[in-house]
């Protein structure tokens, strides 16, 4: 494992992610410079906030191309967390329709109540049920709780991209994967011991 690039695109708290990567034995660097992209062994896109702002910031920083090159051409393992996972979608429907990175087919939509007792945003610990075996969830039991804090969720077009679901307002996609691209709707850096196991699993993927 070399340097773990945590992308700095000014969307919320990155401190927790940096410290969590350190705790997991990684060497994190918070940056958006081209050379740091080129030298990273792993890339993490964190983020909290609005879909549109997230994409705008990525465009304004001019990092869309290098990001795609590293992930698709050089197959660098990529992890999107919360907004970072949602930006993988083709479209997001927060404050109108906006385009995402488009790396995983589907769109990001607001939760819809299934009964009057459903509360939105979805805030708190909830169970993550992963589909079959997956390296991200190694050493984690089925149905363990992780921390969620969001009002929007990713509706995947392709079931093979869905690696975990969580019951809320019905059921929603809590983790995605496409080859070396991973996405987690919950916050592993806020999910204590179990969150660290997931991060360690990601960091050991090469």
């Amino acid at each position: 494992m070399g340097k773990v690039l945590v992308i700095d695109y000014k969307m919320g708290n990155t401190d927790s992610v940096l410290r969590a990567v350190e705790k997991c034995g990684g060497e994190p660097i918070l940056s958006n410079s081209i050379s740091d992209f080129e030298n990273a062994s792993h890339i993490i896109l964190p983020g909290v906030g609005a879909f549109q702002k997230g994409m705008e910031n990525i465009e304004d920083l001019g990092i869309k191309r290098i990001l795609k090159e590293q992930v698709f051409k050089h197959k660098i393992p990529f992890l999107g967390i919360c907004l970072g996972m949602q930006l993988l979608a083709q479209k997001g429907f927060e404050h109108g329709e906006n385009s995402g990175l488009g790396w995983i087919e589907g769109s990001v939509q607001k939760f819809e109540k299934t009964n009057k007792d459903d509360r939105i945003p979805h805030i708190g610990w909830n169970e993550v049920n992963f589909k079959k075996e997956n390296l991200l969830f190694e050493d984690i039991e089925f149905g363990q709780d992780f921390y969620f804090v969001h009002s929007y969720h990713f509706k995947c077009k392709n079931p093979s991209n869905i690696i975990a679901t969580t019951p809320y307002c019905g059921e929603f996609v809590s983790a995605v994967r496409k080859n070396n691209i991973f996405g987690l709707q919950f916050h592993p850096e806020k999910s204590q011991k179990l969150g660290f196991i997931i991060l360690k699993n990601f960091l050991s993927f090469a």
Binding site: N13, D15, V48, I120, W125, Y147, S151, Q192, G195
Partner: protein
């Protein structure tokens, strides 16, 4: 800055260092930590960003920070140093536009509006207090809660001033009244002295979390035992 615990927002006792408490709670698998600087607004101080930065470094669980949050820069600053959610209390009354601004910028899930309530002298109706319980606003808590939800609050932290620190149980009446009118989650606070109090309040629809302090500072009850008790009584908790 010292960690304190009071009774009905008065007679504050020192209960140790903030950093120590954060480390201990981190190890004890508490679900979430709420840190409030209770004198910031009345002292006309800004939040202490350095302090929050320092203990956010030790905190690998969700962290809500409040106290002295009056401007959008306060919100931005706190999120930048490690808060996951920012709690707005007095400013929800003096500068309610801050709720909308914060919610638009970061999403409503980052915005907790903290409401402190107290029974009026008639012992029948309730009133919202601000500025650490020193100013009686005359506001009806239910109306205030409904308003802040409309403005973009993602969660309500509801504290009963009367019950706070007494360890006699949460104020179920006002908590239920407010929870029934909202569609955002509620954190109940003030009065927990025994696991059964947490059980009672978590049975109320819309109350997704129970906040507690005295029970863990002054008794031998623990967060883990609390969760086991709740689980045995059918409450969905992470154990």
């Amino acid at each position: 800055m010292t960690l304190v615990k009071g009774i009905s927002f008065d007679s504050w006792r020192r209960v140790g260092s903030v950093m120590q408490a954060v480390k201990v709670y981190n190890m004890r698998d508490v679900d979430e930590l709420i840190f409030v600087d209770i004198t910031a607004t009345i002292d006309k101080r800004k939040p202490d960003f350095q302090l929050v930065d320092d203990f956010a470094d030790e905190c690998f669980m969700p962290l809500t920070v409040g106290g002295g949050v009056n401007t959008i820069d306060d919100v931005i600053g706190l999120l930048e140093v490690g808060a996951d959610k920012v709690a707005i209390n007095s400013a929800a009354i003096t500068n309610p536009d801050l709720i909308k601004k914060s919610s638009d910028m970061f999403g409503s899930q980052c915005v907790v509006v903290s409401i402190d309530v107290k029974l009026k002298n008639d012992k029948k109706s309730y009133e919202v207090y601000s500025h650490s319980g020193t100013i009686s606003t005359g506001l009806n808590p239910v109306n205030h809660a409904v308003n802040v939800e409309k403005l973009g609050a993602g969660e309500i932290l509801l504290t009963s001033i009367d019950q706070d620190g007494t360890m006699n149980g949460y104020d179920l009446e006002i908590t239920k009244k407010i929870a029934d009118e909202l569609s955002i989650p509620i954190i109940a606070s003030g009065g927990s002295g025994h696991y059964k109090h947490m059980n009672e309040v978590l049975l109320l629809k819309g109350v997704d979390a129970a906040a507690a302090a005295s029970i863990f500072h002054f008794t031998e009850q623990t967060p883990l035992e609390a969760k086991r008790y709740l689980k045995n009584n059918g409450i969905v908790v992470r154990v």
